[in-house]
């Protein structure tokens, strides 16, 4: 089995990361009742004998001694990381795997990327190599960051180039939080645009997340919980937003609910690689199946169900509802409507007591309402993992390579143009060594080229799928 390393960069990245580790421990505790350090848990955690000083403490099997997250925490301010290290999860993190500074990036991509990038390049390489050495077979880096700020956006994307050069065979999955319309960071369009170019060129797969969508999902859940429409209570652990039963018994902070959704996304994404099932799906299969062309590697995700009712007794109808919900625009983690755009590929990762016939029945049922590109009419990748997430009997994660990401990118470009036309705040960037106007124009071209690719695909939407003439054989 392989291991993955999570690299959390910036305030947003670290807060999401923290929720992720919390829920990961909760999940493994629920599955691994005998506290044996097995291959599943080793994919994200090391087993360490804390009495041993220095590096010799790793234990490869047997009882769990002390679990350490395979993580690297990077932030250019100390606030968030310090809080993590003083909180209930402090023992989960290896204090040597941190890179912090004091001054912060001032919401400036150039500071994060150019200044801190060059300043911390050696340290970053060292921590990454260390974490790779602790892995038997490193398969994947998960980078978590936001696009709108300075550290996550700038230093986070600087990292990608380092990973590409140093670990060319390891996959880079990037979870990027895009700024929503009412973002309070004025320069977020600049930061996002500059970061996009890096994502285009150096990420294997990007899972874009939108704060507004997460917020809408939470509002929806609150409405259901408080409206009294439900005859019986919702199982608290089953809320995709909650950390009930997890280690963090502290008060839930404002962004925690939203961050838990992203954390659950990552857990479900890796579930079929960690746990057994009748149709496994490893992380390298995600890229293989969902990325038909190297530049089109943005995947829209949706998680269902958002909660489970307490007296559940799964009739088939509820199971089918789960599949329907996965395609509704209310369940997507960015503002997107996949049903009305064009699918290039779609993956359905199912967990729990669901069999192949349920999966097939629902694909047949939903197929007619979805539009797939002409050369991939049956573009489905499916997986069945036997282990359900905590609090649920079954769940579904849908990953779509769909042209519905286009509006997010178009909006980003428009917001960027509004600022750039006036040259507003540009001097903050240009005064950084290594930054020139060409950085901005190149980033714009890169994004425009990407949008154009999606446009071309969309243009084929209404064309009928024709069978191309085949090779003729002389008998």
């Amino acid at each position: 089995m392989t291991q993955s390393v999570v690299i959390q960069v910036g305030q947003c990245g670290n807060q999401i990361g923290c929720c992720f580790w919390d829920l990961a421990l909760r999940e493994h505790a629920a599955v691994n009742q005998k506290a044996i350090y097995d291959e599943a848990i080793s994919s994200f955690f090391r087993n360490v004998d804390t009495r041993v000083v220095g590096d010799g403490g790793s234990i490869s099997k047997g009882k769990i001694c002390s679990l350490k997250a395979r993580a690297v925490l990077i932030d250019m301010e100390e606030g968030v990381v310090n809080e993590i290290l003083q909180g209930p999860l402090r023992d989960v993190f290896d204090s040597k795997q941190l890179i912090t500074d004091i001054s912060g990036s001032g919401n400036n991509w150039a500071v994060g990327h150019k200044v801190f990038g060059s300043l911390y390049q050696e340290q970053i390489l060292e921590k990454l190599r260390k974490s790779a050495e602790h892995c038997d077979c490193l398969q994947c880096f998960f980078v978590i960051h936001s696009m709108g700020g300075g550290t996550g956006s700038g230093l986070g994307t600087f990292l990608l180039k380092v990973l590409e050069d140093e670990f060319p065979e390891v996959y880079k999955f990037v979870t990027s939080v895009y700024p929503s319309g009412e973002d309070d960071v004025i320069t977020s369009p600049y930061n996002s645009m500059l970061a996009m170019k890096e994502l285009n060129e150096h990420a294997d797969c990007v899972l874009p997340i939108d704060n507004q969508s997460l917020f809408d999902i939470i509002s929806k859940i609150d409405l259901m919980v408080n409206s009294g429409k439900l005859g019986t209570a919702i199982k608290p652990k089953s809320l995709v937003t909650s950390s009930a039963g997890a280690f963090k018994k502290r008060q839930e902070k404002p962004f925690d609910a939203m961050n838990n959704i992203v954390a659950n996304l990552l857990l479900n994404l890796t579930s079929s690689a960690r746990f057994e099932g009748s149709l496994n799906m490893d992380l390298n299969e995600i890229s293989m199946n969902l990325v038909p062309f190297p530049q089109l590697h943005y995947l829209v995700s949706s998680l269902t169900p958002l909660y489970t009712l307490a007296d559940v007794n799964i009739p088939s109808r509820r199971l089918d509802q789960m599949f329907s919900d996965a395609f509704s625009k209310d369940h997507q983690l960015i503002r997107a409507d996949p049903k009305h755009s064009l699918y290039l590929a779609c993956a359905l990762m199912v967990r729990g007591n669901v069999q192949i016939s349920d999966l097939r029945r629902n694909i047949e049922r939903l197929k007619p309402s979805l539009r797939f590109v002409s050369w991939n009419q049956e573009g489905w990748k499916t997986s069945l993992c036997s282990v359900p997430p905590v609090g649920h009997s079954h769940s579904l994660l849908a990953l779509a390579n769909n042209t519905c990401v286009k509006p997010t990118f178009i909006e980003l470009r428009e917001r960027f143009m509004r600022l750039y036309k006036k040259r507003a705040h540009l001097h903050h960037y240009l005064q950084i060594e290594g930054m020139e106007e060409s950085c901005f124009t190149e980033a714009m071209s890169s994004l425009s080229a990407l949008i154009q690719e999606y446009n071309q695909l969309d243009a084929t939407k209404s064309m009928p799928a024709e069978d191309l003439p085949r090779l003729r054989i002389a008998v």
Binding site: N284, E285, Q355, I356, D358, R360, K381
Partner: protein, 400 residues
């Protein structure tokens, strides 16, 4: 004579387990509907083919388990050991840490050469345990990366190293509506390579077996376990011992002894262009049919209908194309059972569909970069397409 089974990838290993389980259960079935002596001869023959003896009496399957990631093999080994009735050899598996990522090129060009020696050594060890080797039974799927790519590589190696032994590949044809998005690419690459090195391709389509579970067995929530058990049952009823001819006293020694290599006569065939597949066929034309009967009244069964010339291609006499094997010993508690193995046009339509879909995708060049990354170039795809179009055309022409 013994058969060595090679189970490759998740599918191959999951099915392999069910096959050995079905063979074992059947051979130890008390209700054989025949004399005790008959039953013992049957058991002994089955044992020799598929199991070797261990000191404490638990039979060990003559199998080599190969997968590029550990989860499925671990499960398979423990399921077998758990049953207490038979098991896999302790050192019969080869496993790596990271799978093939559904990438045929990775399975064939990276895993293959890298692990060639280890895998072939394991197979060699298993072969040495046999008194006499009849051949290899290789279980793999076409849709993924390990079963398909590594399976093609291993079969090629078996062809080189054991050219006198029969190689039969059990291929799982994926569901039409995706399990894997690049399944059509993986399928055409697998089939075209196997055509050059395998002696026989025994096909099971997931869609067809699924229908059996749904319509004939009325299973409500069909799992892969259900599907694999139906498959195993079918394979068991083909591979369990039978008598070679009328009045023979011993079970036939050559379990895979169907004459698979059939070549049409060169002269006398009209030259034809590509045939339209929309044309309604009255009969699915065969070049070989094998009927296997087990249980009560096998000797009085009426098989005339199978010898109807309309079933066969014009250049074959039914007597050369049709065989029947029988045994009174019932299979798996069924008083009477029959199996049909057929080399016919039955698979032309599914094959044509897969080639068509792969061709459409290839025209757009989608996903090709994933294969060229590991050394499978566009020419390799074109070679595969060419070979398979020839196969389709050859089968289509049987109808004349």
């Amino acid at each position: 004579m013994s058969i060595v089974t090679v189970q490759l990838g998740q599918c191959g290993n999951q099915i392999g387990f069910e096959v050995f389980d079905a063979l074992f259960s059947d051979s130890h079935c008390p209700q054989g509907l025949c004399s005790k002596r008959e039953n013992e001869a049957y058991q002994a023959s089955c044992k020799e083919r598929f199991f070797s003896e261990e000191e404490n009496g638990v039979p060990i399957a003559r199998a080599v388990l190969v997968d590029m990631e550990p989860k499925v093999i671990n499960q398979t080994l423990s399921k077998a050991a758990h049953s207490g009735r038979w098991k896999y050899g302790q050192h019969s598996c080869f496993c790596q840490k990271q799978g093939s990522g559904n990438n045929w090129a990775y399975g064939y060009s990276v895993h293959g050469p890298r692990h060639e020696e280890s895998i072939m050594n394991l197979i060699q060890k298993e072969v040495e345990k046999c008194d006499s080797l009849n051949g290899f039974f290789i279980i793999m799927s076409m849709a993924g990366g390990t079963g398909s790519g590594l399976g093609a590589f291993v079969t090629q190696n078996l062809q080189d190293q054991y050219s006198n032994s029969l190689k039969m590949n059990q291929i799982i044809w994926p569901y039409g509506t995706g399990e894997v998005i690049v399944q059509n690419y993986n399928s055409i690459l697998t089939l075209s390579h196997l055509y050059r090195s395998s002696d026989a391709l025994l096909i099971h389509e997931n869609d067809a077996v699924h229908k059996i579970c749904a319509k004939l067995m009325n299973i409500k929530q069909i799992s892969f376990r259900d599907i694999n058990q139906v498959l195993a049952h079918q394979l068991g009823s083909v591979f369990q011992p039978t008598y070679s001819g009328e009045g023979s006293f011993h079970y036939r020694r050559n379990p895979l002894g169907i004459d698979w290599q059939v070549r049409p006569p060169l002269s006398g065939l009209p030259t034809l262009g590509k045939m339209s597949l929309n044309k309604e066929f009255h009969f699915n034309t065969s070049i070989a049919n094998l009927v296997i009967l087990r249980g009560k009244d096998v000797h009085s069964a009426e098989l005339g209908a199978f010898k109807d010339p309309a079933l066969y291609t014009s250049w074959l006499e039914p007597v050369h194309a049709f065989s029947v094997w029988k045994t009174q010993r019932a299979f798996s508690k069924y008083e009477k059972s029959a199996a049909l193995v057929s080399n016919s046009q039955f698979l032309v339509k599914p094959l044509d569909m897969i080639v068509g879909k792969a061709w459409n995708m290839f025209a757009s060049k989608a996903y090709i970069h994933q294969y060229t990354k590991f050394g499978i170039e566009e020419e390799d795809f074109l070679d595969s397409f060419t070979l398979l179009e020839q196969v389709i055309a050859s089968y289509c022409n049987l109808g004349f």
